[in-house]
């Protein structure tokens, strides 16, 4: 089960522009997940959400019974990336129906064993967990905004999740540790199975009580649109674990590499264009390339 946003994105990058294309954390992560396991998504869209987009998710085996359609407009986000793809500028955020999003799980979703809480208010993430009966693995994302404005709720939530995913700045803000190795270990002490610190084009580091693992980002020559890379990583990560059924350190490492593999495809085209074109064979091939990249 994946809880988060479904959005219409307008994106400018040095490679071009895309207007009102399919986006949102739940979208990217559920599509990435779909290569390994079928996710049910919990999200909200407005009356204007194109039917073709919902159809496209269903065609990937994604359960959209938790996708509420409310009166009003769909969440819209506009962003611009500079040459340094790790830096982006938000041009506009129209929350629309997402403003009043209160995730209520359809009954079958309450049995979900693998849960990805994409970046929404920690109180809402908490509310979701209260509805899930006996999850096996909970992965949680968050952002600067909540660390600054809802730190208490977030700190209450962390001991209930297994894997916390943040980017480097967020990890620093949350722990007060500038050094990322210290930040990672400080997060671990809060009762997590693993803390994953994402560093965009610099890869991601998995902190686990048995050690530290570094999943590199693939050195791509053709990054077109970095939107959704982190959510794609998370979707590939939890999808792989849901399929494997294990959650030991060795599997978490592989999950992180699969997450990086999926993210590396996602950024090669605007929106979900490339993700929707690849096959398991493409994924396996790039997984091997990742292996080559760091093997010595």
């Amino acid at each position: 089960m994946i809880v988060g946003s479904v959005a219409l994105d307008t994106i400018e990058t040095p490679a071009g522009k895309a207007v009102e294309v399919l986006g949102g954390a739940a979208t990217y992560s559920s599509v990435a997940c779909s290569f390994f396991a079928s996710a049910g998504i919990v999200a909200v869209v407005g009356e204007d959400f194109p039917a073709k987009y919902e159809k496209l998710l269903r065609a990937r085996g994604i359960d959209t019974s938790g996708l509420a359609r409310l009166p009003g407009r769909t969440f819209r986000w506009g962003g611009k990336y500079l040459k340094d793809v790790n830096k982006r500028e938000t041009l506009f955020t129209e929350l629309n129906v997402f403003e009043k999003f209160s995730p209520e799980l359809p009954k079958p979703y309450r049995d979900a064993e693998y849960v990805f809480l994409a970046n929404i208010h920690p109180a809402l993430q908490f509310h979701v967990l209260d509805q899930v009966k006996s999850p096996r693995l909970i992965v949680c994302d968050t952002m600067n905004l909540w660390i600054n404005t809802a730190r208490k709720e977030l700190e209450k939530l962390i001991p209930r999740v297994d894997v916390l995913m943040l980017n480097d700045e967020e990890a620093r803000l949350l722990t007060g540790e500038f050094n990322l190795a210290r930040a990672g270990h400080s997060l671990l002490k809060q009762g997590l199975l693993a803390a994953v610190i994402k560093r965009g084009e610099h890869g991601a580091t998995v902190f686990h009580r048995r050690g530290v693992f570094f999943a590199p980002a693939y050195p791509l020559e053709d990054v077109k649109d970095p939107t959704g890379a982190g959510d794609t990583f998370a979707g590939g990560f939890i999808g792989y674990l849901a399929k494997s059924g294990r959650k030991d350190f060795a599997e978490l490492k592989r999950a992180a590499v699969y997450g990086s593999v999926l993210a590396s495809f996602a950024v090669q085209e605007f929106s979900l264009k490339r993700l929707l074109k690849i096959t398991r064979a493409d994924i396996n091939r790039r997984f091997k390339e990742f292996h080559q990249l760091v093997s010595f």
Copy 2:
């Protein structure tokens, strides 16, 4: 053979301050190299250079017959690192005797098979190569200043070297490619055996016609002084290759990891303090930790 600076550094970092300590590119790289092979250094110091420092280099098996002692003061550099150890501020540069440095090789040095040209003016690097009879492997470093002020000399030099090492900004400046994968491949086309793009705490990438290799930086909790990390990397890199006698892609990968291992020790204390304390066993242990860090 290692050609470059020997300096007295004054360094401030969030972890403390060190005044007039041993530094310089040739110093860091020759000490790192010394774990694998004995380097002869070519550098210049002033009359004030403490005899104990030269003794310390000799004690590591480093040949200092190419270390000229000229009238005047030794090259001094002062720098300050911020919390983000990838960012530093130069507080002062006193070239002193280094200003007129013109590397003349003692006769036995002309037979050197492995040459590291640390960061000096490309015309001087060229002048060094003209004195070496039949080198097997030439590794060359450079910096923004020379790319901006001596681009022609640098471009003439590149086809004569085997491995060019630069940091990410320098690679972008030299190639005009912002994307590092493109920058790396563009450098390769200039006739190099390999291009190594260093990204400080984000690791280093080796570009070779047979593929791309990523050597991570170890996630250290105790970075005290990043000075010399890049030169230590280079010294470990060429030292390992000199010992191995091979220069295929597999060996270049291992050399990059040994370079990263040495650099990870260097930054754990001010100046060369930690580098001078470690043993081959420490190096081997951390080499295995690097392996663990990326194995999946």
